[in-house]
Every structure is written in C-alpha cells, then in structure tokens.
C-alpha cells in the first residue's frame, strides 16, 4: 500500500531532514514511525501525504505517486496533521460540513463525529475545544471519506490517558476492517501496543525496523543491583560465564546487559545465595522497546533529547 525507496528531503536552508529511508507498509497493517522530535517523522509523512516533493528517492501510495497522481490518491487517503488546521470561528458541525463537501464518499457528518465521541460538541466553536477534542475532530475528518490509507501524525499528543485508549481502540478497529495506517509517535507505549511493525527514525535515517518484538529482541535485557558492602565487581563470578555482554557501574550500583536473561539471573542469584549476600535494589528487566529507543537516542551528539515514555 505504501512503498518508500531511498527517500530524501532537503529544506530550503540545505538541512537534510530525511536521509535515504526505505520501508513498505502492507494492506491492513499499522506501521509506526517512532522517533524523538526532529528525527524526521513529520518530514517523511508529509512526503507520503503528497504535501511536498522528495529531494530524492521514490514514494508510492496505493501504487501511485502522491504528488503527480493526486487526483487518484487523495480520495483514498485520510490525513491527520500534527497540529490542527481548522478556522477557530467555525463550529465543529460547520467544519465537518466544509470537509464533507470536499471529500468523495464522505460518511454522514453525525456518524463521523460519533466515531470520535464529539457528537455532543457539534455546535461548539473550534476555538472553545480542548486540545484533545481538537485532535479528535481532526481524526474524525481524516476518517470522513472511509480512506484505505490513513496517515496520522502524532494522533494522541495532547490527549489524556482515556482519550489515548479510545483512539487506539478506534485505530485498531479500523485496521481490523482493512484500513492501512501509518502513524508517527514519540510515545513508546503507543508504538509497542498499537503497531504491527515500526521503524525507529533517528536523524533522518531508520535506525531499527521490524515488529516491536523483532526490534526489542535485538536489545539486551538488564539486571541491576547494589554491590554488597565489602565486595567489588571482581568478586562476582566471571561476567562472561554469566552470559553478560556488557556492564557498567554507577556508584555502588552494578548494571549488567545480557541476551540470556534467565541464565544470567539464575547464576547471579545462585552465587549470591552461596556467598550469603543480599543483592539490594535488585531489578531484573527483559528487553523493551524503550531500551532500543534510548540506545538509539543516546548515539547522538546532541545533548538534550526530548522523549516521553
């Protein structure tokens, strides 16, 4: 449904926001582009939506070029931008009517608003909606034409926990009904729970891609504990024998990384039992998307990374 090959995007000032990425999204799949702010998520999605032409590479949506063949593509796609884009003085119903007039095969206005729980706000002006309500209105309009491909740029940013769950349920229901969904997010949880496959973008390139399990499986699990008084790291059993692939110390805290969590944990605990020491603040944690994400984000020269777990 979506084919991206060696895609590049360069802004006027020469900044290369997207630096040669390739991926494909299959029919009826939820694909997430995950990344920190500035990773190139929105720049990529705008190329897929046909809002801009790529500086290099190729985009195919439903088999067509979204810019050149827009007349064929647009009636079959739905778009939700990162930030609204509705006149603040129109009411929800008036905004929906405007979009109904511009959307082929639009569902009834009331049905669209009911999908996102905004039917009760039909006569409220857009400027009086909360941030979350505006996101839901945006989603309703993206769904208006019952699109085959849905682009959602940070669909749950600004929503409260309940609103986010509702949106996830709705997106899953759409996927189950055959809609292909490409979404961007910087919420790890969202990518992990919702996406069938995902790509982690970092500085305009894909740093990792696959199912959430694939991406996670490549990451080590972690064990951390406080070194017992009087012990040194050298007093532990040889780390290689424990199956540890990396370690670090922070004060008295030892952090171990392993791809064989059960073996490492068992041997460590057996050692502690025999040595009659207590491993205080013991924390054993299997690999997670968060590890993958943080690991990738850490590989950067930029000091401040904004990310929300």
């Amino acid at each position: 449904m979506i084919e991206v090959t060696d895609l590049r995007r360069v802004y006027g000032g020469g900044f290369e926001a997207v630096r040669g990425i390739s991926f494909s999204v299959r029919r009826g799949e939820i694909f997430a582009l995950l990344g920190t702010n500035g990773a190139g998520k929105t720049s990529t999605v705008e190329l897929l939506e046909g809002l801009a032409r790529p500086a290099g590479g190729r985009v195919r949506v439903l088999g067509h070029d979204p810019v050149a063949d827009r007349a064929v593509v647009r009636p079959r796609t739905g778009v939700m931008l990162q930030e609204g884009g509705f006149p603040s003085e129109l009411t929800v119903a008036e905004t929906t009517r405007l979009w109904t007039g511009c959307t082929s095969g639009a569902r009834p206005e009331r049905e669209a608003l009911e999908l996102v729980g905004l039917a009760g706000k039909a006569d409220v002006r857009v400027k009086q909606l909360s941030g979350g309500e505006r996101r839901r209105l945006d989603l309703a309009l993206a769904l208006l034409g019952e699109p085959e491909v849905l682009f959602l740029d940070e669909p749950t940013t600004g929503l409260d926990a309940e609103g986010r769950r509702d949106t996830w349920d709705l997106v899953r229901a759409l996927r189950d009904a055959g809609t292909t969904v490409l979404l961007t997010t910087h919420y790890l949880e969202e990518a992990e729970d919702l996406a069938d496959r995902l790509a982690i973008l970092h500085e305009g390139r894909i740093a990792a891609a696959g199912t959430p399990d694939d991406v996670t499986a490549a990451q080590p699990s972690r064990i951390s504990f406080e070194l017992p008084a009087g012990y040194f790291v050298g007093d532990l059993p040889p780390l290689g024998e424990l199956g540890v692939c990396g370690h670090e110390m922070a004060g008295r805290t030892v952090r171990l990384r392993t791809h064989e969590l059960q073996r490492t944990a068992t041997r460590l605990l057996v050692w502690a039992e025999r040595a009659v020491v207590e491993l205080r603040r013991l924390d054993v944690r299997s690999a997670s998307l968060e590890e993958a994400f943080l690991g990738i984000a850490r590989d950067t020269s930029r000091p401040a990374q904004e990310y929300v777990a």
Binding site: T95, R97, S104, A106
Partner: protein, 258 residues
C-alpha cells in the same frame, strides 16, 4: 456508503460557504469590507466637485462611480483577502486543506469567492446608487464596464495572494496591503482621473495595476474609448494578472514559517 465523488465546483462551493460564515463573524471584516467602500462616494464628493472636469468631458458622477468601484475592489476584495489568506495560513487551515482533494487553485479561488462576491454586489449597488443620486447616465459600453469589473475582481484576488505571501501575521496585513492601496488611490486614476495629470506622469500611471480596470469601468460609462484606448488597459490588466499568477505559484506560502 455513499459513492458521491466531489467535483471542483462542489469543493470550492463548500469552502466558499465556510469562508462566508467566517467573514460574517469578523466584525472588522464586515465593517471594512461592506460599509467602508459604500461610504466612500459621500466622503469624496466635495473634493471631486472642486476638480476642473469640464475640459476632459467628465461629470462628478462619472469620476465618483469608478472611484467607488475602485475602493470596493481595494478594500472589500484586496485588503480583505490579504487578511483571509494570511489568517488561514497561520492557522494551518491551508495546509490542512491541501491534504484533501482540493487542488491549490481551488483552495485560493474558494477562499476568495465571498470577498469577490461582496465586491461585485457592492459595485452593482454603487452603480445603481450613483445613477440615481448623481445623475450618472446609463453606461454607453456596458460590456467594457463588465470586463473591467470582472478582470478587476480576479486581479485583486490574485494580488492579495501575492501580498499574503510576504505577510507574516494578520496584523501586519494592514501594513503590507498599503502600497497597492495608496498607489492606487494616488496614481491609478481611482480618485484623480489621469486626464487631469501632466502627460508624462499620466503615461507612468497607466502602468499601475488598477489603472486598466478603472479606465475600462469609466470607459464603459462614457463610451468614448477608441479601439487603441481599449486594448491598452485590457493588456496591462492581463499582464498584471499573469505576473500575479506567476508570483503566487512561485512565492505563495501554504504554511507558516517555522
């Protein structure tokens, strides 16, 4: 599921309808777009009565009517649309509309429609009003007046989009729209007929964007334009519209600067 496919006309109508509601909800827009141009003839009347019009064969009404239509084009259409295009861009409305089925030209035309319609209705009201109150005779070449008015509406909408391209905020739209408004009021013959100016100055003034429109409108009423005198304003108006279209395609911005 309905299988209704949208058409360009249908999409533009939906947008125009929304824009009309928005225009009606902005008190400043209503004042400056609807009432200001209608009040113009009254405020100018005494000044025009001082002009030496006999020599060039014009009456007070024949100066005031094109002037009023010029004001309507400048304020109701041009200035209003600079604000509309800028406001919609800054609210990301234009960007959001571009994600849908509307083509770029449809977005601009649909958004421009209400203001252009107001300009058209105002011009008709002014024509009727001036005819009734200022002894303006019936137009001798109405087709020229219509041509002038229609091309004036298109040109003003187009120039508004150009101006919005380098206008950052709705507030600054009041400043960026001044050059065209002031130059039109002084040198395009909107207020002072070019025939009253020295020859060399008048030649330069003929190149101002709105001069052709005003010449055609006035000529429509007087009916005294020769073939050459008709072709020149038509060509300058067309040329300005072409320049405007080129500038919009090249420099119009669909989303705010980041």
């Amino acid at each position: 599921m309905s299988t209704v496919t949208t058409t360009p006309a249908g999409r533009m109508a939906a947008l125009a309808r929304a824009e009309l509601m928005l225009l009606g909800r902005s008190r400043t827009a209503v004042l400056s777009a609807v009432f200001l141009p209608l009040a113009m003839p009254l405020s100018l009347q005494s000044a025009v009565e001082q002009m030496d019009l006999k020599d060039i064969g014009l009456s007070v009404g024949l100066v005031l009517l094109p002037a009023s239509i010029g004001f309507s084009l400048l304020f109701s259409v041009y200035a209003t649309l600079v604000g509309v295009f800028t406001a919609r861009r800054e609210e990301l409305v234009l960007k959001r509309l571009r994600t849908g089925e509307l083509h770029d030209a449809e977005i601009l035309a649909g958004a421009a429609f209400p203001a252009a319609a107001i300009g058209l209705v105002q011009s008709l009201v002014l024509a009727v009003g001036c005819t009734a109150l200022l002894d303006v005779p019936a137009p001798k070449a109405p087709q020229l007046a219509v041509l002038g008015l229609v091309s004036g509406l298109a040109l003003c909408a187009c120039l508004a989009a150009v101006t919005a391209g380098f206008t950052r905020t709705v507030e600054s739209a009041q400043v960026t729209s001044l050059p065209l408004i002031l130059s039109s009021m002084t040198v395009s013959g909107v207020v002072v007929p070019l025939d009253l100016l020295p020859d060399r100055l008048a030649t330069v003034c003929e190149l101002q964007p709105l001069t052709g429109v005003i010449t055609l409108v006035r000529g429509g009423w007087t009916g005294d334009l020769s073939a050459y005198e008709t072709v020149v304003p038509v060509l300058t108006t067309l040329a300005w519209t072409a320049v405007g279209v080129f500038a919009v395609r090249r420099w119009f911005r669909w989303e705010p600067r980041r």
